[in-house]
């Protein structure tokens, strides 16, 4: 079966989404993963945008969370206040799964999407939190997309934009955050999860043709790889739905 890494990543993340999940998604591959889940394995999942649209019809792939394509046949077109309140509200927030991306991640799944270098004199400036920190603060589970590179999997983040498990078990509670936190990290080489006791990242799976050692070589910190198994590649059905239903014009793929 012929597939690209981007397709693999979108499908692997989509498989983590279940019916009845309310899926918060950002732009790019995260939007594609949410659409893939809806079209393939979780048709009853609900897509939700920080700009205030919920259950948009998504006849066409949006290119930004402000894209007018998310406004078409949604259940309600509100604004930022409503969407973030929905995440902060524990009745609804506990059903929301967030999909996030970042420039750097650490072993506890904390994310940096603000700067590389000193905050006051940065070497590289990124977009900043947007709604990412709010999502990571509020929702019950989040799925994170990362490129598997040493400079991205860091011992210490240059800036902690969005909270994962902060510095370990109980840290979210101590800081005053709601329960929740990241559940998976999907990269171009495999997928990580977080240990229920230590809250540390471990390798859960690797793509066909990739070894756990190669993944470790592309991270600054060590993770447990003893639980890792090879991930099933996308099926013909998953691929055709992804390509034809979600992104027929190859805007992201």
């Amino acid at each position: 079966m012929d597939y690209t890494l981007k397709e693999m990543m979108a499908i692997v993340a989509a498989r983590e989404i279940r019916n009845d999940d309310i899926v918060f998604c950002g732009t790019g591959i995260s939007m594609l993963a949410a659409m893939a889940a809806k079209n393939i394995n979780a048709p009853e999942s609900v897509i939700f945008f920080e700009t205030g649209a919920i259950d948009s019809k998504l006849e066409d792939l949006p290119l930004a969370v402000g894209d007018p394509r998310i406004m078409y046949q949604s259940s309600s077109n509100g604004g930022l206040l409503e969407s973030f309140a929905t995440m902060q509200n524990p009745f609804t927030g506990s059903h929301i799964v967030g999909i996030l991306g970042a420039a750097q991640i650490d072993i506890y799944g904390n994310l940096n999407s603000t700067v590389i270098g000193d905050y006051h004199a940065p070497d590289v400036r990124f977009s900043g939190s947007g709604g990412a920190c709010d999502v990571a603060s509020f929702v019950s589970r989040s799925i994170i997309f990362m490129k598997q590179e040493k400079r991205k999997f860091k011992n210490k983040l240059d800036y902690l934009t969005s909270p994962g498990y902060l510095d370990g078990p109980e840290a979210r509670k101590k800081a005053g955050l709601p329960e929740g936190g990241p559940v998976s990290v999907v990269t171009d080489m495999g997928m990580m999860a977080f240990d229920s006791e230590s809250k540390k990242m471990f390798l859960k799976g690797y793509y066909p043709g990739i070894t756990p050692e190669e993944i470790l070589q592309n991270m600054e910190f060590e993770i447990d790889v003893t639980r890792a198994e090879e991930i099933t590649p996308p099926s013909a059905n998953e691929l055709s739905l992804l390509r034809e239903k979600c992104d027929p014009h190859r805007l992201i793929l």
Partner: protein, 324 residues
């Protein structure tokens, strides 16, 4: 705010009267949607300087104001335009070259700050960002904050829940209110007094509009008073908040305006390219200075491109638009 009267004016006049050097400004819209771009270009044309800009995720409009050197201080959640620029290019350059001072918040925090401003309270609480550098690291130095009478003395405050553990909450984050000197929004429909109807997502436009000392509205359609008042449930902003109303078709171009036109992918792609190059960006700025009005930009872009982005009646965007 101005209670009564006919508020229709020219864009040039509205910007000249209200958007002064050093003024605290917020603009409506989100990334590539409903940014008040005609007004942004007018501000650039008038060479306004030292603006203190409040942005949540204003994307294109914020990036063009920063690129033109109009902004000295920026409070922002997100500087990006999705597929066109994951990080807005002139924003990134200005921060890396330390040409502007930046304070980072989250989108929810910025929205709550506008809401607080619109309610007349000094702050509002939320549970976001606890344990992060958004709380730990402050962009504006304390001395700078103390010198500026029109910004609060703190970025934000973490507080123990004064109601003990009520709502299972131990700590909260207080974010300070924003009352911009001027907010500019672009809406689909308005009338001469400034009643507004927004189609599609409102983003944070309503809170931004109501928090402002002065509100400038640009609109696609300028309607008779009766028209909007016949369906009051669909109106979001009553006229009492408005100071100036300007009729500018395609006033959000090159960003989208739901039910009227899509964003222009050709423009946004070209912009992202030339924003990377100093010389090209300077000549781009020259082209803005040389235009007399937004109309001239539309004439330059041409009927063909505007036809391509025209929204389908049913979908509200241009379904057949080539966005590759």
């Amino acid at each position: 705010m101005k209670v009564n009267g006919n508020k229709i004016t020219s864009l040039e006049g509205a910007v000249k009267t209200h958007v002064k050097d050093g003024c605290h400004l917020s603009i409506g819209g989100f990334t590539i949607n409903r940014n008040p771009m005609a007004a942004v270009y007018e501000i650039i044309r008038q060479k306004t300087k030292n603006l203190h800009l409040y942005a949540h995720s204003n994307g294109q409009g914020a990036d063009e104001l920063i690129g033109a050197g109009a902004v000295s201080c920026l409070e922002i959640a997100y500087g990006g335009t999705g597929k066109f620029a994951a990080t807005c290019i002139r924003f990134r350059k200005a921060v890396e070259e330390e040409k502007i001072q930046v304070e980072d918040y989250t989108n929810y925090q910025m929205t709550l700050r506008f809401l607080a401003g619109s309610m007349g309270v000094p702050f509002l609480p939320s549970r976001t960002s606890l344990g992060t550098d958004i709380i730990e690291k402050w962009g504006f130095a304390p001395e700078f904050r103390n010198q500026q009478p029109n910004i609060p003395n703190k970025k934000l405050v973490v507080l123990e829940n004064p109601f003990d553990d009520w709502c299972d909450t131990k700590k909260i984050v207080l974010v300070p209110a924003i009352n911009p000197d001027v907010t500019i929004i672009h809406v689909q429909k308005a009338d001469y007094r400034g009643n507004c109807r927004i189609d599609g997502l409102t983003f944070a436009d309503v809170e931004q509009a109501k928090a402002a000392r002065t509100l400038i509205i640009t609109c696609e359609e300028l309607l008779d008073d009766d028209y909007l008042k016949n369906q009051p449930d669909r109106n979001q902003i009553p006229f009492i908040h408005a100071d100036a109303v300007v009729h500018i078709p395609y006033g959000a171009y090159p960003t989208a305006c739901y039910k009227y036109y899509d964003y222009d992918p050709v423009f946004l792609k070209q912009y992202a390219e030339l924003a990377k190059n100093e010389e090209k960006y300077q000549s781009y700025l020259e082209s803005i200075y040389n235009r007399k009005s937004h109309r001239e930009l539309l004439d330059f872009v041409g009927r063909g491109r505007l036809e391509m982005i025209k929204a389908d009646k049913n979908r509200g965007y241009a379904a057949k638009l080539d966005r590759r």
